[in-house]
Amino acid sequence: MPGADATTTLAEPAFPRLFQELSPFVWRALRRLGVQERDCEDVLQEVFLTVHKKLPEFEQRSSLRTWVYGICLRKAQDYRRLARVTREVGEPGRELRATAPNQEETLEVNRARALLDSILDQLDDDKRAVFVMFEWEALSMSEVAELVGVPVQTAYARLYAARKHVQTALGVARNGEDSDDS
């Protein structure tokens, strides 16, 4: 099919570079969107398989990065949905197993990361997506709104609700630690 060949040839040489440029961001976004570290490799691969398949259809209506994040969001949501069924998301301490025993700094980072994951796990998918894409992936609010398919004002409301939750949950976690210490 000559038409398909032409588009394939057009897109493919760009793909390896695209992977190199975006994969670190996609990895981080997937992790913050609730993909467990041990599964992130597989989900990352799925994201880029989809990117490769759909790249010829990319129409530059959004930036390439935002477009890839859209795929990323859907894959992460699928993952979480599936993981909820198998009751694997949010199990405490899962990420701590890789900790080297004598490295306090690493332990501290892993603790903070586990705390962050547990706080984010309490958010619903909609708020989480807005929070992650705005706060860490630096998309504008209009891009975030487009990405999640809601009016900008709704995206703002979700961002503020997510922020409030994170602040509250962090406070609760720290208070809990303090009372454990005393």
Partner: protein, 273 residues
């Protein structure tokens, strides 16, 4: 119009909250994981390149095997693919690692990010290609210059050669750049700002794009920036400059996904009204 809120990472927040956000921002993908994924994603391309060069010698089903799903490839196919993966792993690790990340997993950070499951999945081929008696040390500056000494995955090596030749011919002149994520984000933000202006205020977008070019002459987003520049020139009525820029773009990025769209955009912009 609602004013964009300031991101927590860029604002004065309580230190605990800021620390938490930083932990989230700084979680980088382990280079070995990225290398493995890219190797798996590339494998079918190797098969396709091989198929194009030698139709009868193409491994049957290789393309479908690699692209049909995210499942891991198993069995004989895996052995073949891993040979090729090993060849690519070392330069890939170089190209995807942050500037301060060592190639070998020796830092505390990498140990923290590499799970036992990852370790089990590590490719049998060494990330650092084994030195060979008659081969020079592998160049590490480009994906396209993987070492060519014989390897256990000899057949994959043969399959990889046409692919490399194709990549060499289409390679960009720029070398892979390892940058901290924050620096990459700064580049992306400015470009996003320009993109937002493009529709309503292309003149303003032009200014931002030139600012981007001055600030980040070696940007990892250069291709996107140049594509946007052509659109901005066309939209500000600078048709001749846009055409000239597009010709340059074609040479610089011969396989860009943007080219076809830019042709169309320029045609529309230059069409008599």
């Amino acid at each position: 119009m609602t004013r964009e809120p300031v991101r927590w990472l860029e604002s004065s927040q309580p230190s605990e909250l800021l620390a938490l956000m930083r932990v989230g921002a700084e979680e980088l993908a382990p280079p070995d994981v990225l290398a493995r994924v890219e190797a798996r994603l590339r494998a079918p391309e190797l098969a396709r390149a091989d198929s194009a060069a030698q139709p009868s010698a193409a491994p049957p089903g290789a393309t479908a095997l690699g692209w049909s799903s995210g499942l891991r490839v198993k069995g004989v196919g895996l052995v073949l693919l891993l040979g090729a993966a090993g060849l690519m792993l070392y330069p890939l690790v170089r190209s995807t690692a942050p500037a301060d990340a060592p190639v070998r997993s020796s830092s505390a950070r990498e140990q923290a990010l590499t799970t036992p499951a990852d370790a089990q999945r590590t490719l049998p081929a060494s990330p650092t290609p084994a030195p060979s008696a008659n081969a020079a040390p592998p160049p590490v500056t480009s994906l396209d210059r993987a070492p060519s000494e014989p390897t256990p995955g000899g057949q994959a090596e043969l399959a990889a050669e046409p692919r490399r030749a194709r990549l060499r011919s289409s390679a960009r002149s720029s070398e892979p750049r390892a940058q901290p994520i924050d620096a990459r984000l700064a580049e992306a933000r400015l470009l996003e700002q320009a993109r937002r202006e493009l529709a309503a205020q292309p003149g303003r977008a032009l200014v931002l794009l030139r600012e981007h070019a001055a600030q980040f002459p070696e940007s990892w987003l250069e291709e996107e920036r140049e594509a946007m520049l052509i659109r901005a020139l066309a939209q500000t009525g600078q048709g001749a400059a846009a055409s000239q820029q597009l010709a340059h773009f074609r040479t610089r990025f011969p396989h860009s996904v943007h080219t076809r769209l830019l042709d169309h955009a320029l045609e529309q912009a230059l069409a008599p009204r």
